[in-house]
Symmetry: C2
């Protein structure tokens, strides 16, 4: 598939595929003849599928060696398989799946790689040295914003070893059904966010005083010394002074911290995709999957997520779980989300966005088959419910919605130090609590967004680089970013999206 | 009930009540003898209920002339009726209610009051002159924050007649089930927020380019000239420049606007309570209700909300609807929310927060009876589903969750120019799009939060002021604030809570 010229190029992923996607920017016109003899009978846009053979009505359409749909009508060889021609298959049945029947062999250990991190007292490490200020309720946000501005302007410059001050703002805490069975999810998330390793063991929580979610519920040890309730303070000026004072004490301690050499096995790396296209599954996601394998080989934790984007590929994941218990947990999370969507009268097909389709993805099945490439080829060592902390190392499936903000928030709660984010359409996404490395699926996007994309995986489509080469590039960049030696673009510009909790329970 | 000294004081709201609440700060000790002869047999905290007679087990506990619960055991006269002694009644049956059977007489018109507002081209008025920048998806927030900071620092000082730049940030737009039946609610809310009268008819929306919610769906006329999609721009610097340029054009036009004298009938005033206590229903809320009556008499619109806080008092509201259609709409909104909560395995009793209970409210029934006092005594002219715009003037019920942030966001979508917010426990709540006037239920809170509370209604409890007097004070302050003559504390400090959409549909 090597090509650096303008010759027509398609990518067929699997030998069994009867469709391929067009690589050339701008797509290719009718009449285009490929080296293999295939002739396009109509224009096919970039990333979109061409029929490699005549397809009969109802015939299986195969990509990644999997059925991504059925032909709604007969489709001649060389046609553009536009999404409306693809009838979506039903999702895999969850009760018949084999669990752990094809556990991949453990890959050889990878030694000799380290990074420079801040060692926390509890043994974890930090990739940034942040003052985190948690909140128990949105009511405090106006006061907190005022105080944080003051802290950043007046105090932060005095403590050069501290990278930033991060306020953990959210919509939970009051006006919510806190005793609903599902409330466990947002509460667990907030509790785990408050003790993120990048906060260096310092805890500070600002509450109101009458809210449903008690500040004590959001921190591991309910020590009053770490809690500030606005209702205890006489007026606004006093509240602000109190927050600034507590911040100052913590900044002083955080400023004493220095980076030390840490083994890669201390790292927890989150993997996500957003604004995906048809290249995601052949360029950026496989490269990230290769980097994930390198992380796992080096003893680290790699975490993939996004339930609606693994649901249709679940039969390819359940064979990879290390034991039946992990397999059952994986099925449990799929069933949970099936039911959650069903209550809202939708299904997993609600996932795909107009941009995904414009980028060549016919449906959620095709999207999911590309999405799971991020998981590489390691055994799946553990499955987490939304916002839980891992207890194992290796490849972890952390169940989250696919929403970039909710997935990001939940992966942070699960303790990620860095997130690797692949995008085909382009998003300026970033997180305040951990650096985000953005990997483009296409060279055109990398060029268009030269000051937002960190890694170009588009070179894989044109044959200029291999999956392995880009995978190594991502792996090395993870270590550089985790060490503070390099800043991804989102951090250079300070582009940080708001936290977004997953709250499946009602508001009141 | 007059008292300026330290003599013991309770408030009995209705002649039929068999309980009263203690007024004195700090509560009153056992042995306290009231002028009427009642003797406390134990300490009763401020705002908490004392039994005015011996109550038998299962006997009705009556406040506001309504049953707020049943005695779990026999309770001697002079006892503290702590919340655990009160068995909560079931909510009123919704199918048996009489609709519009006791429509209150229309109050005499109130003439001679005006305010100074900015007149919009479509006939509406603005109480602030704001540049609003809407968004179709959270992905753009990092870039938008960067651009807004630049606009505020570099452009806003050049346009002194413009009050502020407000970015409408939210968690909707992608990663959500946009075709779910319930998606109508957040989409309608965003569309109505984008055309809020305080934005002076200027529309500017920043989108990404691949999101599910199209920017065109969020604005009334899908004019490309008002839409900026980040994916159309070559890199971050260009995006920021493009946003700043579009903002500059609009700031220039907004700066031409001048305040003119407007009739009070142009005003839409939202009413809300948050952090309520047992005084809410006898001081701040009745005073707000009196102000609401004055607004309605002057031809304006007064809007009350918070479904879970009217649900248990619904039998007192359905008689007041102007016709059967409005009554049916009111029932429809109650049923909608009953079902919504039921799906989450909770009911309206999830509403009450620990602070409410500490403040003397035994349950949601007692809270609701106090909450509806904000509606005054006018006929109910219209009922809105969440985020809808009113088509009538007068007293309007806009169905919203009680959550301060969601209610605020939805009332803004419904077009409020000012919000009056009562609080017993205290919250620094504020909105960027419209001024919020905060009314305290207790003098102690007003003194404690001297630089956050705008109006003290606590004087009503001690007899230093009447409901009418404080009602007039609120009414006059609404006109001053709407005219820009006075700034409530939240605006003086710039305390603005984030928007929070009501999205009853799933995320994906
Ligand atoms: Ca994704
Ligand atoms: Ca996505
Ligand atoms: Ca995603
Ligand atoms: Ca309320
Ligand atoms: Ca409220």
């Amino acid at each position: 598939m090597t090509s650096t010229s303008n010759e027509p190029l398609y990518i067929k992923v699997n030998a069994e595929d009867n469709v391929a996607i067009i690589v050339n920017a701008g797509g290719l016109p009718a009449g285009t003849v490929f080296p293999c003899g295939l002739t396009l009978i109509e224009h096919v846009p970039q990333g979109h599928k061409v029929a490699l053979k005549d397809l009969a009505q109802n015939e299986e359409i195969i990509r990644y060696g999997e059925v991504i749909g059925y032909a709604i009508q007969s489709i001649p060889k060389g046609s553009w398989i536009e999404e409306s021609l693809v009838v979506m298959p039903t999702a895999p049945e969850l009760d018949d799946l084999l669990l752990g029947n094809k556990v991949p062999p453990v890959l050889p250990p990878l030694e000799g790689y380290t990074f420079e991190g801040f060692r926390n007292e509890n043994g974890t490490v930090a990739t940034k040295n942040l003052l985190g200020i948690s909140t128990s309720v949105q009511c405090v946000v106006g006061v907190l914003d005022y105080a944080v501005k003051k802290i950043k302007e007046e105090l932060l410059p005095l403590y050069p070893n501290v990278d930033d001050v991060v306020a953990l703002k959210h919509n939970y805490g009051c006006g919510v059904a806190i005793n609903a069975p599902e409330a466990v999810v947002p509460i667990r998330t907030l509790r785990n966010l408050a003790i993120h390793p990048n906060f260096g063991g310092e805890v500070l929580i600002v509450g109101l005083g009458c809210e449903k979610l008690l500040p004590e519920q959001v921190i591991p040890v309910p020590d009053k010394a770490n809690i500030l309730s606005l209702q205890d303070h006489q007026g606004f000026i006093n509240m602000v002074q109190a927050i600034v004072k507590m911040a100052g004490e913590r900044l002083k301690r955080l400023n004493e911290r220095k980076r030390v050499t840490c083994p890669v096995s201390d790292l927890v790396v989150g993997l996500q995709c957003g604004g995906s296209d048809a290249f995601s599954g052949v360029t950026a996601n496989p490269a990230v999957g290769y980097a994930a394998d390198l992380l796992v080989r080096a003893g680290a934790t790699a975490m993939f997520s996004e339930v609606t984007e693994v649901r249709d590929a679940i039969h390819l994941l359940t064979p990879r779980v290390v034991n039946e218990e992990v397999g059952k947990a994986l099925i449990r999370e799929m069933k949970y989300y099936d039911r959650y969507l069903d209550l809202g009268k939708v299904d997993r097909s609600s996932n795909t966005a107009p941009g995904n389709k414009k980028g060549g993805l016919a449906n959620i099945v095709e999207k999911a088959l590309g999405s799971i490439a991020k998981s590489g080829s390691s055994p799946i060592a553990e499955v987490l419910s939304p916002g839980e902390r891992p207890t194992e190392k290796g490849l972890i499936y952390a169940a989250t919605p696919a929403s970039d903000f909710i997935c990001g928030t939940l992966q942070l709660a699960s303790g990620i130090h860095v997130q690797v984010f692949t995008t085909g359409r382009g998003t300026p996404y970033g997180l305040a609590m951990a650096p985000v490395i953005k990997v483009s699926t296409r060279t055109a996007l990398t060029e268009h967004w030269h000051d937002l994309i960190d890694v170009n995986a588009g070179t894989i489509a044109t044959g200029e680089a291999t999956i392995e080469e880009v995978g190594w590039e991502i792996f090395r960049l993870i270590l550089d970013v985790a060490s503070g030696r390099k800043k991804p673009w989102a951090d250079q510009w300070g582009l940080h999206n708001d936290l977004c909790l997953f709250n499946p329970a009602p508001v009141t």
